[in-house]
């Protein structure tokens, strides 16, 4: 076996209050495609950032071709031979392809750029990938796939030995992905070490030689792809053994078919986001969306709520066909959506807990009829108690609260609307164990009140405990549905692993 090209050993990275990486190793060989996998909070992106110089490790050592390196910036990492192509490409879209490849390194004579030579060099860089493009075309006007190729060409042009591809296939269709893989194989055969960070299981098995799995900041293991069955891989990612005792759904409830239909989506999909799927939610039901990160669960929720409305299929709410083209319409139809992105899409940071809590309710009343202060305070007091929100008082700016309490306040915002269907996207992420149990209990109590819940969570145990039905998603499409006693962690993982 050849000497490893890159060796990260015992890497440790600590942020205030959280250990992001704890004694993690990563070994890359020259001429391989190495998949880096893990669920949310696993530490993948932190590890990459340490490798590329965005962060400095607090412990451990990295060596490239035998020499110890400690890059303090992306420039230094690039100089050492480690280049990254990000999901968002990170080039300057308003400039041409040629310029993007050579930016900062244009050939010059007496301080003046030689454009002819620049174009020639750009063409040559692309030719290395087997591509022939109009190098004067504006990058923005090219497809995402092309933009990524340009980013790769640039990375290679700076003499990369390790190429990190961060979720390169998220915006590509099947044909473009195949083209990318062809290039990746070619580069691998030339001796490049490629780190392939992705959520797409099928692709991992198609292109990678070895897999490193992280979980909760620690290394789970390093495996040869050919020797690791899918089910086992998923188990390792989720921290579950494949042959576990089935956990039955909490109440062993098989019923609910007789309840009134609340939402019926048929053939509902959105190009570039989710393949058309069917989903029915009934009154008093908790329906879960199961699947790995990146499988399309959040996209499905956002599609139903009108944030990124579907461009195919039809939606029936309470028996009537509706087009929910924006959140306001969805809310008016009785839907509520608690986003997973607390900071960006949830809290209004400078406003108080009270103002955040009553926001949706007030929005539904319009700008003139202000909810009387006494009622507002009563509502706050009720939810602060019911959800156990820890806050000095209702007037504290919500940004002062801990993440978990912010989440609870956001939940209260939606509950105050008394919606018919509430969509909860990762409601227990970043919340302490005690609060998690509270939320689960709350979800079940909502069911008793006749509310329906669409529940998204990466924690299998939670999904199994709280849901009456689970729709399983993989790689942006629905692959199956489980009801009642069928819902077990085993079955969900099997569906995800494509393993009947």
């Amino acid at each position: 076996m050849s000497e490893p090209l890159l060796q990260m050993r015992g890497i440790r990275k600590v942020f205030p209050g959280v250990v992001a990486l704890d004694d993690v190793d990563l070994t890359l060989r020259a001429g391989e495609v190495h998949a880096l996998m893990g669920e949310n909070g696993a530490g993948k992106s932190t590890l990459i950032k340490v490798l590329t110089g965005v962060y400095r490790a607090d412990g451990g050592e990295t060596s490239l071709a035998g020499a110890v390196i400690n890059p303090g910036s992306t420039l230094e990492a690039e100089a050492a031979g480690i280049s990254t192509v990000y999901q968002e490409v990170n080039l300057v879209g308003s400039l041409s392809i040629a310029e993007n490849i050579l930016l900062g390194r244009q050939p010059r004579r007496f301080g003046v750029i030689r454009w002819g030579e620049t174009r020639r060099l750009a063409k040559r860089a692309l030719a290395r990938l087997g591509l022939e493009l109009d190098v004067d075309a504006q990058l923005d006007s090219c497809s995402m796939a092309i933009q990524q190729m340009v980013a790769i060409a640039r990375a290679l042009d700076v003499k990369a030995r390790v190429l990190i591809l961060d979720e390169p296939t998220s915006s590509l269709d099947d044909q473009e992905t195949a083209a990318l893989f062809k290039i990746m194989r070619q580069l691998r055969d030339e001796g490049l070490a490629i780190v392939f960070v992705t959520h797409f299981l099928d692709q991992v098995y198609e292109i990678s030689d070895r897999i490193t799995v992280l979980r909760n900041g620690a290394l789970v293991g390093e495996y040869e792809t050919a020797e690791l069955p899918r089910l086992e891989l998923i188990g390792k990612m989720l921290g579950r053994k494949p042959e576990i005792v089935d956990h039955a759904a909490a109440d062993g409830d098989d019923g609910g078919e007789s309840a009134e239909e609340l939402l019926a989506a048929s053939g509902v999909g959105r190009k570039g986001s989710v393949r058309p799927l069917d989903l029915t939610i009934r009154k008093g039901e908790v329906v879960g969306l199961g699947g790995l990160l990146g499988s399309g669960r959040t996209e499905t929720a956002r599609m139903l709520f009108g944030i990124e409305p579907p461009d195919s299929g039809s939606l029936r709410i309470g028996g009537e066909t509706r087009r929910l083209g924006n959140p306001r319409k969805a809310i008016a139809s009785g839907l509520a959506f608690c986003s997973e992105d607390r900071k960006g899409e949830g809290i209004i940071p400078h406003l108080s807990v009270r103002e955040n809590l009553i926001l949706a309710l007030q929005a539904s009343r319009g700008p003139i009829r202000l909810l009387p202060r006494a009622e507002q305070e009563e509502l706050c007091a009720h939810y602060i108690k019911a959800l156990n929100i820890k806050t000095p008082d209702a007037e504290t700016p919500i940004s002062n609260l801990s993440g978990g309490n912010q989440q609870k306040a956001l939940l209260a915002r939606w509950l105050a609307l008394q919606p018919k269907l509430i969509i909860l996207d990762e409601p227990t992420r970043g919340i302490d164990v005690g609060a998690k149990a509270e939320i689960e209990k709350l979800v079940r109590s909502l069911r008793e009140k006749g509310m329906a819940v669409l529940f998204i969570s990466s924690e299998l145990e939670e999904v199994v405990h709280t849901c009456d039905r689970v729709a399983v998603l993989r790689d942006r499409r629905k692959v199956g549905e489980l009801t009642g006693s069928e819902i077990t962690e085993q079955r969900i993982m099997q569906l995800v692993a494509h393993h009947e």
């Binding site: 709520f305 960006g344 809290i347 406003l351 926001l359 929005a363 700008p367």
Partner: protein, 340 residues
């Protein structure tokens, strides 16, 4: 939690009223010490006169502009067209007053509706066409003055209409009438913002538009409305300006006043990035500018040089609002704040 002292403290510091008031107090202290008769007030013909009254009177236009500008800035935008809108309001009113028999009770609403409608134009460009506020309001800033000059035929239109003249020069209860206008405007706006959900909508939409939109807030309408309101305030200020000089001077009125208004709002504690706003703070900010100008005049500094201290104040306020600057300074004093 009904501790009145704590509530007062929070209103004071949380709303950011502390700093502009301190600034104003410092200026007034300087005036008290070094300027003769700055605080002297006398009563003549039942009216109160004095430097302090002059400041309030002359600052009334900036205060009104600042009122409208506060809400626009709270949504993360800016309205550069207010100076030109002032000119349009004055032009319309002067033209109607001199060339028609319409009563003031009709003319004033017409002028105000015109500038409010132009504000809607601004708002539509920003919220519907998605154009950057600086660019969108630049259009009316440039063209608006041209429109005003068109209305007055390029002349300075003078008038003697008693009612119109009263707006800017009259007295009410011993104080200049302009003060009454400002007080009513401030009172009305505050009531609208706090007794209805309008204030909440503006602050939420400005602080986090996405989260607000997801919560069902009609963010497009919010944005449209604040620009219309700014237009309305500009119209009011324009009427006062015209009344002051008993003429509509379309080419000069309101020149550079939008910048003073922005300055007043920023100094008054509303962040340029939007979110929480502070109407009273903007008023104090406007008073600060006016006091600064007046102080300089009494000290023999030519008024044209008065912008220099304004510059220092603006940069100082920006630095204080900048997190990077605050971190660097506290670093000098040994306290390092962890920024992730």
């Amino acid at each position: 939690m009904n501790d009145p002292l704590a509530k007062l403290k929070r209103w004071f510091t949380g709303g950011g009223l502390l700093w502009p008031l301190l600034g104003l107090a410092a200026l007034l202290a300087y005036d008290f010490a070094f300027v003769d008769g700055f605080f002297r007030l006398e009563v003549r013909d039942g009216h109160l006169y004095g430097t302090l009254i002059d400041i309030l009177n002359q600052g009334s236009k900036t205060m009104l502009l600042a009122l409208g500008m506060t809400l626009v800035i709270a949504t993360g935008g800016v309205d550069l067209s207010v100076g030109s809108l002032m000119a349009i309001a004055g032009a319309i009113a002067a033209a109607l007053v001199t060339q028609s028999e319409m009563s003031l009770a009709l003319i004033v609403p017409i002028a105000l509706c015109a500038t409010a409608a132009l504000g809607v134009f601004n708002g539509a460009l920003v919220s519907v066409a998605g154009i950057q506020p600086i660019v969108a309001t630049l259009i009316l800033m440039v063209a608006g003055r041209g429109i005003a000059m068109l209305i007055t035929g390029g002349q300075i239109v003078t008038f003697e209409h008693a009612g119109f003249v009263y707006i800017g020069n009259g007295h009410f209860m011993g104080l200049p009438f302009t003060l009454t206008i400002v007080a009513l405007a401030l009172g009305g706006t505050s009531l609208l913002m706090r007794k209805t959900a309008c204030g909440l909508f503006v602050e939420a939409a400005g602080d986090n538009e996405t989260a607000s939109r997801f919560s069902g807030l009609p963010t497009r309408w919010v944005k449209l409305s604040v620009y219309a309101f700014s237009g309305l305030c500009a119209g009011l200020a324009g009427l006062i300006a015209a009344s002051n000089i008993k003429a509509a001077d379309s080419s000069r009125v309101g020149e550079m006043m939008e910048l003073d208004a922005i300055f007043a709002v920023v100094v008054g504690g509303t962040a340029l990035t939007g979110g929480r706003f502070n109407l009273l703070g903007s008023i104090v900010g406007a008073l600060l500018i006016q006091t600064l100008t007046t102080t300089m005049i009494t000290q023999g500094v030519p008024p044209a040089v008065a912008p220099v201290p304004k510059a220092i104040v603006i940069v100082a306020v920006c630095l204080l609002q900048s997190e990077r600057f605050r971190n660097e300074v506290s670093g000098w004093f040994g306290k390092r704040r962890a920024t992730a």
